[in-house]
Symmetry: C2
Subunit: 364 residues, 2 copies
């Protein structure tokens, strides 16, 4: 499907979801589960979270084929109270486990005002924002904490990478304005972004990573020789640590030295932990009044005085909201190198390759 002289090709979101689902099904997932995961992975690319979308497919397929994922998991509650539950993912695909956790947290929130679900024996589930956006659809606020699937962050002042980028996401509904969706790694850059730059052959800005001698590391191909830096120094380290305790340790998931580097190890169960909190807006305040307040705040921020040289003041989630609209129409850009890799994967699995969009003039 690719032309090597092009930097990227474009694929329709439905075609991307079809392709991913078809690869996962061929690798062993039941069709409905493959469809769910494919939909969420394509949604990640749709909103520009390109470190967590189809780029992960070869790695997921490798892990599934190596037996590192349970393709027929018994996802079940291991402990429960009125407003909370701990969900054992039975080493199933993280997208399936966290989707179930979201449904359960929403159900709990409907019954008690708020609901918290912790996962254990889960796996990498893609961008945090996908799951708080799911909560949003029920007119609830969502918070999400996760333990990353490889340790890239040492404690502040240290050299041993005992922590992951442990992301935090928060979604807040608005009225006529788009929702506010924060999705951030507790490191300056997420490791997925490093991998995406490596795929594109681009350098990292200074401040993303440091090598073991404390020197800036700029080449993403050398990422294995260094570590990510936390936001705000010791604060980001603290945030990564407590996020990991809430998402991992609290529910019985891996944390610290127990975290499996799923980029290198395709077999050992990761015992990933995530946590989702849903807050049912209507039990706090009149939802219309709340949304009017959020809309006003969004407009106050967007219209406020800017520093010289700044063209726009953005709200968290604004760029992913915009990409969702643009890519839905124009197609999702897939880097040429990645597209070649996907073609090879398709050939290997014996599935129909990813079709790029003809109108963009980049298709086959």
């Amino acid at each position: 499907m690719t032309k090597p002289d092009k930097q990227f090709v474009r694929a329709e979101v439905s075609e991307l979801a079809r392709f991913i689902a078809s690869a996962l099904e061929r690798a062993g997932l039941p069709a409905p589960d493959a469809g769910t995961v494919g939909g969420l992975m394509a949604e990640a690319d749709l909103q520009g979270s390109d470190g967590h979308g189809v780029i992960r497919l070869p790695q997921y397929v490798k892990r599934i084929r190596a037996g590192g994922i349970n393709v027929r998991p018994d996802i079940h509650v291991v402990s429960e109270h009125a407003a909370m539950a701990v969900l054992d993912g039975d080493n199933g695909m993280g997208h399936l486990v966290v989707s179930r956790a979201v449904d359960l947290a929403v159900e709990k929130a409907r019954a008690c005002g708020i609901g918290w679900v912790s996962t254990r024996a889960s796996n990498h589930a893609g961008p945090a924002s996908l799951y708080v956006r799911k909560v949003l659809r029920h007119d609830m606020l969502g918070l999400y904490f996760a333990v990353g699937n490889a340790n890239h962050l040492p404690p502040w002042g240290g050299l041993e990478m005992l922590l992951s980028t442990n992301p935090i996401a928060v979604a807040v509904p608005a009225g006529t304005e788009p929702p506010i969706v924060l999705d951030m790694a507790t490191t300056v850059a997420a490791y997925g972004k490093v991998k995406a730059l490596a795929k594109r052959g681009q350098m990292m800005p200074e401040g993303w990573m440091m090598d073991r001698e404390g020197q800036p590391l700029l080449d993403p191909a050398r990422a294995g020789e260094g570590f990510l830096l936390p936001i705000g120094g010791y604060k980001g380290y603290g945030l990564a640590l407590v996020t990991g305790l809430l998402a991992g340790t609290l529910g019985g998931g891996a944390m610290g030295r127990d975290v499996v580097d799923f980029n290198k190890d395709h077999v050992t169960p990761t015992n990933t932990g995530q946590a989702i909190l849903a807050l049912d807006l209507k039990v706090f305040r009149d939802p219309a009044a709340f949304k009017t307040d959020v809309d006003r705040l969004v407009r106050d921020i967007r219209g406020s005085q800017r520093l010289p040289g700044v063209e726009h003041i953005r709200l968290p989630g604004e760029q992913s909201n915009a990409k969702r609209e643009i890519y839905a129409e124009a197609g999702i850009p897939i880097a040429a190198a990645l597209a070649l890799e996907l073609d090879a994967l398709a050939a290997e699995l014996g599935i129909e390759p990813l079709r790029s969009m003809s109108p963009a003039g980049t298709g086959a």
Copy 2:
């Protein structure tokens, strides 16, 4: 009590609490409430949160006397569900309102596994960590979000200070190790720290504040001419924003342009919002197993390989834990300039001045 040639004097924590309570009672608070607030403010100084302890007393007294605080508030629940409540503080002292919120959140967590309480019509309540430490005493994990009481932070790329430092605190119980207590402003520095440096006549490090031309601002006496900087650039801005939405807007508290600068305005009710979340450890996992995991993680981090020149790797809360022990014995250091101010306040209110400790050789 002060000797101007000394940089600071030392006071016993119980004497500091006595002095604060006595001043607040004279200003109009009922004795039990004055005692509660005095205890919490002295506890702030005890753990080294010197931007939020007795340094705030003159300002609080000024606000109470100006009618900006309701000294006989009817703190009451305005909406409630099994696992959550919104608490109206009726413009009472924030310490009282948040203490009540913590008790209620713990009660809800006992009944439902987790409990969330939002406050509105509350006020400045001192350091966030005090309240998550309260949750900790019930063998629960605590999360706290607050809207700061003055806007010092513009949105990323902006000049208008629409956001406050909006702190986040998280407390996690350990076994034989001290608990992990993160308490962080979403700005590089909290405004209380700026005020503390100003009192001590010291300069700020670069990166704490910026002036309206985008230049570094180092003199804390000129703090009014600039704004605080968020951790991790746009990430800290996003974190401050969603923290404010969760702590303020969700419960009906002030946010954005509605935030009253309580350093300048001593009369207008601040309508401060805070939120506390308690998670009952025992419904998630066996508490002993959880604490063993936390202890092991703490030791792994503390004993891990250090960058050249680094003597200790610290855990969040380690320094405040240490200060609690040291100051409990040696007394709490009070800057000489502040001690003079407190002497003047004592004279003005007609209360017994703060007695410093004789053994330290700095007392009267």
